[in-house]
Symmetry: C3
Amino acid sequence: MDPLLNLRELGLTLPAAPRPAGNYAAAVLSGGWLHLSGQFPFLDGRLAYTGRVGAELTEQDGYQAARLAALNVLAQIHAVMGGFDRLERLVRVEGHVAAAPGWFGAPKVLDGASDLLVQVLGPRGGHVRSAFTPASLPLNSAVELVVIAAVRES
Amino acid sequence: MDPLLNLRELGLTLPAAPRPAGNYAAAVLSGGWLHLSGQFPFLDGRLAYTGRVGAELTEQDGYQAARLAALNVLAQIHAVMGGFDRLERLVRVEGHVAAAPGWFGAPKVLDGASDLLVQVLGPRGGHVRSAFTPASLPLNSAVELVVIAAVRES
Amino acid sequence: MDPLLNLRELGLTLPAAPRPAGNYAAAVLSGGWLHLSGQFPFLDGRLAYTGRVGAELTEQDGYQAARLAALNVLAQIHAVMGGFDRLERLVRVEGHVAAAPGWFGAPKVLDGASDLLVQVLGPRGGHVRSAFTPASLPLNSAVELVVIAAVRES
């Protein structure tokens, strides 16, 4: 199961891994764990989805935003690990969805991330998830994903 | 110190572990760590506490919601580890409490979770905690807990 | 590179590590990882920065709040590890900034934490970061930091 081939079959290509927005690292590898910085629905250097699901954005927009943020997760893993060979498995995905008052459907939106990660990585893409619906996210992003993975360091 | 006996002495029984709300796993075990998905105050398949502390709910409601979510944490650990024998210790509890504007008492509410975890697991139940007070949580839940534990894998 | 000397050159001294606000531990050490409880901008036992950036507080206030919370992170590490010798490196910093509606500048504010951690710890202070902008935080704090570090246990 080749993740890059799976991406191609979905009509997707791996973007350049987004750069940190401040004085921190995009990824840190330590003790067999890969920690990634928060990932957003960036496309070609700009946020493709801003605003809140349930107000400025529909649930379908949110699903696509989560999927795009997950594509950037894959790009970060590929960039720091030099490919997917040394990825043992994803472990945790925390999904934050900017939500209008009264909108509570985060699980459906975050399946946009989970579906892509499993489609591309196969069994290695499985993960626990926790969903959050803050009133807003940095940069007015619609979605933010925080991912931890288990890796072989050499 | 038998966690199941402790539960019984508190008049509690372990519920069935809640199932994931989307395309993810309830728990992932990797490298001696057990990661759990976000746990909510589910009781018999439905959310028992919805709304915000400081508005629809009192602090005492919030305490009970946190305690119920922690009971589901225990159910998840028991389900995935086949009991509590291979649980070394809890490590982290992140507690999210849906909060009305101007209400800031999350630590008291989250003691509902911490108290139960320590009562049931004893010294193995100790943990670091971080508290958050978002405007809302998925499914309009009052509380969400994210837990990481150290375990023996075999 | 001596972190305490670096602190002195910045005109700072390590405060007493803040005590937990409830039934939990300030820090847990397990399997080579140090987990810290949420840290706030406490100064001499009281919160020095309350309210939301973009409303009651400016971005510069927020930067100082993040810096002060990071000083408490350093105090916690020093207290639990008996110094900085056994700190391998910081790994993750999650930064939560209480935000007024329409304010989205969390990365600049959280550099207040990241800048201090790198100034004091040098290369060991590098970390991945994720930024969040909830409507409020516990105790009406302006900032909360959640930190994970890699350590040598003996």
